[in-house]
Symmetry: C2
Subunit: 127 residues, 2 copies
DNA sequence: ATAGAAGATGAAGTTCACTTGAAGTCAAGG
DNA sequence: CCTTGACTTCAAGTGAACTTCATCTTCTAT
């Protein structure tokens, strides 16, 4: 069992953010010691890692909330949770495609700069 | 020359956003007619498209502002602008890598759901 | 000529995801 | 004993990127 400080050091997530995620219901079942201090176990860490992956791929807090509340309902929600993940997977794949598409535009701009620079060079050395 | 409405229809960007981008200095040289209504030409459209690509790839407004102000300074800033684009290209490539990395975690979760579902099926038909 | 749609402006409001502040509890060390 | 530091809670504040509002002007169609 780890303290909040150890978790922040391991994950790079700030203590206020961990408390905020827990308050919003993104981290089920974080336990406390006799003095109400949070104690994180391996399962908490894997929730943190999962929530972090969802956030990093753009899933809003509200949707993660929904996912976690379905999880708490138990096995009867497995199909719905799987559907959520499938949709999110599609969203991520779309984001990646759009990033590639826009990266192409940036690369085109960079190619123009190469042309510009070689023109300037030719002008400077008066060819 | 197109009106703001035609541009919103072409690009899907709202008129308030176009005005906001212009006010923030992201769209240089948008002209007006005799009654101060905006008129967009081809060059404006290509700026809009470029700014949109930068935004869609996560470049903050402030950095686009800087880029456009360098552009307005003229050819002496070409090297600096190219450097900005090279850095941004690196950032995009990093984002794409991170998306793939996190997509793997989602796919792992999905694989677990497949296992869970087949377990449930076996339980139901009592094998 | 006049209603209604479209455009302009500046200021204020919204949303999201945190972050910071204020005030209190508790254990350990000098 | 008492200070320090790591926690706690709840509320308020922040920053980014728009969006909406109020008010005014201008164009278009009947």
């Amino acid at each position: 069992m780890m303290t909040i400080k150890e978790v922040t050091e391991m994950t790079g997530i700030s203590a206020p953010t961990l408390r905020y995620y827990e308050k919003e219901g993104l981290l089920p079942y974080v336990k406390r010691n006799e003095n109400r201090k949070r104690l994180y176990d391996e399962e908490d860490l894997s929730w943190i890692s999962f929530v972090t992956a969802l956030r990093a791929t753009g899933m809003p807090i509200a949707q993660i909330q929904k996912y976690v509340s379905l999880f708490k309902e138990g096995d009867s929600t497995i199909a719905e949770r799987k559907t959520m993940m499938l949709h999110h997977k599609k969203d991520i794949e779309k984001s990646i495609k759009e990033l590639y598409f826009n990266l192409d535009k940036i690369n085109y701009k960079l190619a123009l700069y190469d042309v510009l620079e070689s023109q300037i060079e030719r002008t400077t050395i008066k060819i």
